[in-house]
Symmetry: C2
Subunit: 117 residues, 2 copies
DNA sequence: TTAATATATGAACACATATTCATATAGGAG
DNA sequence: CTCCTATATGAATATGTGTTCATATATTAA
């Protein structure tokens, strides 16, 4: 919190404007939560598969080389984030992407990552 | 890894295609790392301020209400992620966004978060 | 009813991570 | 040179997180 620095290149007015432009705490928190969901390889893999087809938990586990429990835990998180929806048929639960436009975000980031070296 | 499920709605050919479309492990890992950087409120706040002006560490700390050390640690991470660049002037180090198009990604996500409830 | 299967879930564990504290480094002023 | 300031950094700590294990729940079949 050392604000002894007097090296501000910008005026107090500009400081005020910059501060004012900062989204409120809740919005920033939710934005961080949103990004955090995509910040895990397992979830990205699951989301990739679901972007291609509606899949049940066991098939997702097989495709992603993950344990059933791990997949189930991650699907719960993705459900809470409203990124996936599901449909029950007997004991089988089929998951799919809730919002196709999520794929765009991943694609944009993928391109960004790929163009870096 | 229980793949006893016989409930596949899709053919083996489709399974193979879906598997083939999955980016390689390294790419997925880097994609996850990329998102992870944005998955923290402090870093999002820093990135926001830097999207508005070139700022030194002390000013960033003051604006973001963070300790100097915490800001410095996060800036190191942002540097390693190549999201920010810096310029030294005496003992003062000025940071700025390395790539203005990063802002677009944040804006897209911001809109997504805001339109949800 | 019992048995089998698909999924969900809580606890435990290992690991990652964000902050703080203390200190190191480096540059400018005197 | 010494002192002061700006920043960086390592260690310690607290908290968060992903997986595994065991088990619960639920649906279907026999």
């Amino acid at each position: 919190m050392s604000d002894k620095c007097l090296c501000k290149l910008i005026s107090q007015d500009e400081v005020d404007m910059i501060k004012a432009a900062l989204p409120d705490t809740q919005t920033i928190t939710r934005l961080a939560e949103f990004f955090k969901v995509f910040g895990d390889p397992s979830r990205l893999t699951i989301l990739h598969f679901l972007s291609k087809a509606e899949l049940c938990v066991a098939d997702l586990a097989a495709l992603a080389n993950m344990g059933q429990s791990a997949v189930s835990h991650q699907l719960k998180l993705l459900r809470l984030s409203r990124l996936v929806k599901f449909r029950k048929e007997g004991t089988v639960v089929y998951y799919s992407l809730n919002d196709a436009h999520i794929q765009n975000l991943v694609d944009v980031a993928l391109e960004h990552v790929r163009e870096e070296s």
